[in-house]
């Protein structure tokens, strides 16, 4: 199954998906078509948790229309969704469920962290809130705001679409191994120091 005429080596498509193609002049057209269609019909999963969920619904409503980007269908089933917009604060009790929903989504999948609570824990730096959903799932775009207005959310979505369309996001996912976990480095220290959360 290794070499097809004109398209080239396809033995890595099964494992790497679009990135496994041979990247010649013919596959470039196919890749562009696939990336264009992924960006244009990116269906969000309903993961509205708190106040940001109301702004997310407002973005999907008539005034700030998400349907013009092909995204008005918020799929309740993660199997049918491409994009998880984590809208709201993630509590300790909710974090395993967030990860479970993320794992149930099919590749390729993207995550927008909407609002400051989802991005960094926001104004709630305490025992109950996970300080950033990137502790739990890998995030592609962060949208700041408390709550981010519909325009900010749309800017985040369009940034994501740009990243999907020029291939940047699929490449980043491979590089970071698709996993969560962040490491912070003090400027002078030679070793990496992982962030230690409070003990349970």
């Amino acid at each position: 199954m290794a070499r097809l005429p004109l398209i080239g080596d396809v033995s890595h498509v099964m494992s790497d998906g679009l990135e496994g193609l041979d990247h010649n002049f013919l596959t470039a057209r196919v890749e562009d078509l696939v990336k264009w269609s992924r960006a244009r019909s990116c269906w969000p999963a309903t993961f509205g948790l708190a106040c940001c969920a109301l702004e997310m619904m407002a973005t999907g409503a008539a005034h700030y229309d998400l349907a013009r980007y092909g995204m008005e269908v918020f799929r309740a089933s993660p199997r049918q969704a491409d994009l998880m917009i984590v809208a709201g604060r993630v509590s300790q009790k909710m974090a395993p469920i967030l990860r479970q929903i993320y794992d149930q989504m099919m590749e390729p999948k993207w995550v927008i962290s909407m609002g400051v609570c989802a991005s960094t824990g926001g104004m709630f730096n305490n025992y109950a809130i996970v300080q950033g959903v990137d502790q739990v799932v890998p995030v592609d775009v962060y949208a700041p705001g408390c709550p981010p207005g519909p325009e900010t959310l749309m800017h985040a979505i369009l940034t994501l679409h740009d990243g999907i369309q020029n291939g940047e996001l699929t490449r980043r996912r491979t590089a970071s191994n698709g996993g969560a976990g962040i490491h912070l480095q003090a400027p002078d220290a030679p070793d990496e120091q992982p962030v230690e959360l409070g003990t349970r």
Binding site: A50, C51, M57, A58, A62, H63, S91, A128, C146, P147
Partner: protein, 445 residues
């Protein structure tokens, strides 16, 4: 006080004394509609999927989990349902998926920062939480808020009630299948949020009502904006009536679904539209007036049957009553200060900081350390769109609350859920959750 006493002596209306049965809310055993099982016990009860099927009736029962990630549970509410076929026998709402530790955070924030915290509890009607907190702080301080500030608060709160009930109409319609209702409800809500953005700077979570008054005065031309809202929304409400209220499918799905008696609602401490849908007329705006509600005229809407249709109709008409109050406020709004002029509590205007050392010091003290509130404890309650929203505040004389507890109406109203869903189908369960209109931010805090 005596007028109020006469009014409220019989909330059920003249001549009516029967509050209905309430025996099932006191039950503790398996006959209670509340399923009191922990996760481990539920797992044991479920048995293994490999067990051979039996004819035992009790074996037909299953425990189904609904949520917390579910399109129809209004946020992160999880329900454990004990079902026989499609009928719900017992249920247990499991909450805590949005617990934010706000009461702990409140002990870490000054009284001026407090509204930013409480406003995010009930995020559909944030101004009410700010109002309850500010009223409690002002009671402890012994502050007298200027009349214009009081009327501005009333205007903003009634418009917030309108936007919250519009949200209810939208989500209620969508949960029952009238998906276009979602678009209509949000369309009207956008207009109200646009006014809020003009006045407070934010569409949601405004941090506008602060101890001492409001953060800023109403902008010029606000009367025109409010008048525009008053002309825009009532015809749209009539559209909703055409779409929903008279429609047989909508009525069939809501009438007779999720019935609760007045005695049960009282025993379960339910307030707001749930209590009023049973025919029990209790509304804090009329019966324990705060702000300036005793100077405006409005009706308290009550239902008759205590079912979900009554709750829908109550909220629909409460929008009309709120707009009626707003129209009166337009004419009656007094001139004056929008914030109490006590220098220890209100920061000075920015221009004064360049001129006066004293103003600079006050500004510095208020924004870094915060103003001190004398020792004491108090409880202040307001009527939010979901029921009685109260703030119990304990102060130790310092700049931060010692203990702040918010009595969230949805937290208490959720206790009615198993009783409303008993005996219904899952589809009825969805209608019932929607009619209770919980906001999980104030349930979990």
């Amino acid at each position: 006080m005596s007028d109020v006493a006469e009014q409220v002596t019989n909330p059920m209306g003249p001549g009516r004394t029967d509050l209905g049965p309430s025996e099932r809310v006191y039950r503790r055993d398996e006959t209670s509609p509340v399923l009191r099982l922990s996760e481990a016990e539920a797992a044991v009860l479920g048995g293994s999927p490999d067990d051979p099927p039996t004819d035992d009736v009790a074996d037909q029962r299953m425990i189904l989990n609904m949520g917390p990630s579910h399109p129809s549970t209004h946020g992160v509410l999880r329900l454990m349902l004990e079902m026989e076929g499609e009928a719900i026998l017992r249920s247990k709402p499991v909450i805590g998926y949005l617990h934010t530790g706000m009461e702990k955070t409140a002990e870490d924030l000054t009284y001026l920062q407090g509204p930013t915290n409480v406003t995010r509890m009930d995020y559909a009607a944030p101004l009410f939480s700010e109002l309850a907190f500010s009223l409690a702080v002002e009671q402890l301080l012994g502050l007298e808020v200027p009349t214009r500030a009081t009327w501005i608060r009333m205007l903003m709160c009634e418009l917030n009630r309108v936007s919250s009930h519009l949200l209810f109409q939208a989500t209620n319609g969508m949960d029952l299948g009238a998906v276009s209702m979602m678009i209509y409800g949000w369309r009207e809500r956008e207009e109200v949020l646009r006014f809020f953005e003009k006045v407070t700077g934010l569409r949601m979570n405004h941090n506008y009502i602060r101890p001492g008054g409001v953060a800023a005065d109403l902008p010029d031309g606000w009367q025109a904006d409010v008048r525009r809202l008053l002309e825009l929304i009532p015809p749209r409400l009539d559209e909703y009536d055409t779409l929903l209220t008279g429609q047989p499918i909508f009525r069939g799905r809501l009438q007779g679904v999720g019935i609760i008696t007045p005695a049960e609602a009282l025993a379960l401490s339910a307030t707001g539209p749930i209590l009023r849908s049973t025919g029990y007329a209790w509304d804090l705006r009329r019966d324990q007036p705060y702000l300036a509600y005793d100077e405006v005229e409005f009706d308290v809407i009550v239902g008759t049957h205590g079912d979900s249709f009554d709750r829908y109709a109550i909220r629909q008409n409460e929008i009309r009553e709120s707009l009626r109050i707003v129209e009166q406020i337009l004419d009656l709004m007094p001139a004056g200060d929008y914030r109490v002029q006590d220098k220890k509590v209100t920061p000075p205007p920015r221009a004064r900081i360049d001129e006066s050392m004293e103003a600079l010091i006050h500004h510095f003290k208020i924004f870094t350390e915060g103003f001190h509130v004398p020792q004491g404890e108090t409880y202040a309650a307001v009527e939010s769109p979901r029921g009685e929203l109260g703030c119990y505040l304990v102060s130790d004389g310092g700049p931060k609350p010692y203990r702040m507890h918010i009595r969230g109406p949805s937290f208490v109203n959720l206790q009615t859920l198993p009783h409303l869903m008993e005996g219904g189908l899952i589809a009825d369960g969805v209608a019932v959750i929607s009619s209770v209109d919980p906001i999980m931010g104030e349930v979990d805090r």
